[in-house]
């Protein structure tokens, strides 16, 4: 049941341990519950415990909770400066000069988490060009950022 989650996490060069018996799938959305919540949550709940993500049209869309789980592991990460943080949460791609540090893969097309200087996960993106290269322009494509909390309310 959790293959979409495992596959998604794998794209960051890592894996996470999830107790499958505590994961509940409801209308394409995955939730991680604890034993107490599992006892209390009847099958028609709208939201429960920790929202992990959803599958829509065959694609997996992660929640920020899942990204935070991945961020705790040894996974692909770029740490960005303050100005780039603001641009990123406004939906913009990341330029190389805004990246303060890279952890894990630097290869084109790999997924990477995007972290601020406090190590907090702001979202994730796809590496657009080898991060070792000297070429300018966008380096990480914004796929999801926390500004989504504002955009999704509209």
């Amino acid at each position: 049941m959790i293959k979409p989650i495992v596959d998604f996490v794998g794209r960051f060069g890592t894996k996470i341990m999830l107790d499958e018996s505590l994961i509940v799938k409801r209308q394409g959305r995955y939730f991680l519950l604890n034993k107490n919540l599992k006892r209390l949550a009847s099958k028609n709940f709208f939201y429960a415990g920790v929202y992990i993500g959803k599958v829509k049209d065959g694609r997996f869309f992660p929640s920020f909770n899942l990204l935070n789980f991945v961020a705790r592991e040894k996974s692909n990460k770029v740490i960005i400066d303050k100005k780039t943080e603001w641009l990123f949460i406004c939906g913009r791609d990341i330029f190389k000069q805004g990246i303060a540090n890279v952890i894990g893969s630097r290869k084109k097309d790999e997924y990477t988490l995007v972290l601020n200087s406090y190590g907090e996960c702001l979202g994730f993106g796809r590496i657009l060009r080898n991060l070792d290269g000297k070429k300018g322009g966008p380096a990480v494509e914004n796929i999801l950022d926390i500004g989504d909390f504002l955009r999704r309310e509209k």
Partner: protein, 265 residues
């Protein structure tokens, strides 16, 4: 504000030019005195480090005694400001069952829970009057009632509201109280609140609950004045004065009280 990270968050907000002042009657609430941009669009907000909630509306959750590891019902939960505050005060232990009946508002509630990394809540798209269907009982019940609001929070209030709205809301509030009391554990606590100033939705409803639902009003120590015990020439149970009425001014208008079963210890 996230209870465990308050000092760090204050420092961070100050560093980006947001001036805050502690709210004297709250442990974890701050007035935003100055900011050059929306405090609802900072990274810190989007990371769930703090929430934005009217000051008086932050009082009800603080009135529960010890809520960690408890099972709590938030009967009219959306858009979720108090649910997040509850989860924070419970340090994400125990369980919150959060109900609301409007789809769009329930979605907003779910977004708040994800933003603030709440882990202990189950949300149902359910009318609070049908709570018995969940076959659960609760140690704490928050009844932040749907109400008529007040002119301090809505400048068109006098144009939009009629006495019939007030009567309809008061009746709905009684129905919600009647059904939720049935799922209250012995020795459990109810906190009742509205942002209405109408006695029908406040003192008169609590007086009715004391007389008809075997509830008693508990002493609370919070901001506000003693509630009215003489309304429209009618004398109410003297215990009603333990409720708190917050007149508009520094905050919006608000009413809050704590109730327990009469036979509870």
């Amino acid at each position: 504000m996230n209870v465990e990270k308050t000092a760090t968050i204050l420092q961070r907000l100050q560093s980006i030019g947001i001036t805050l002042e502690r709210i004297s009657f709250l442990d974890h609430g701050y007035w935003v005195c100055e900011s050059n941009f929306s405090v609802g669009a900072t990274s810190e907000y989007l990371l769930g480090l703090y929430s934005i909630q009217e000051a008086a509306a932050q009082i009800p959750v603080t009135l529960f005694t010890e809520s960690e590891d408890k099972t709590v019902l938030d009967a009219c939960a959306a858009p979720g400001g108090k649910t997040v505050q509850l989860a924070d005060s419970m340090r994400n232990t125990g369980a919150i069952i959060a109900l609301d009946i409007r789809k769009q508002r329930v979605t907003a509630l779910a977004n708040q829970l994800e933003r603030c990394r709440v882990k202990n809540t189950v949300v149902y798209f359910l009318d609070a009057r049908q709570v018995s269907e969940l076959k659960a009982s609760f140690d704490r019940i928050l009844l932040d009632m749907p109400c008529s609001g007040n002119f301090a929070a809505d400048k068109n209030w006098f144009k939009r509201r009629t006495i019939n709205d007030v009567k309809r809301n008061a009746a709905l509030q009684r129905e919600i109280m009647t059904e939720t009391v049935k799922v209250l554990n012995d020795n459990g606590e109810i906190v009742y609140s509205t942002c209405s100033l109408e006695p029908e939705e406040n003192e008169l409803n609590i007086d009715w609950a004391v007389r008809n639902l075997s509830l008693q009003v508990e002493e609370i120590n919070c901001h506000g004045q003693e509630a009215l015990t003489n309304v429209f020439g009618k004398y109410l149970d003297s215990s009603i004065e333990k409720c708190r009425r917050i007149w508009p001014g520094q905050t919006q208008g608000f009413f809050v009280c704590k109730l327990k079963r009469r036979n509870a210890a």
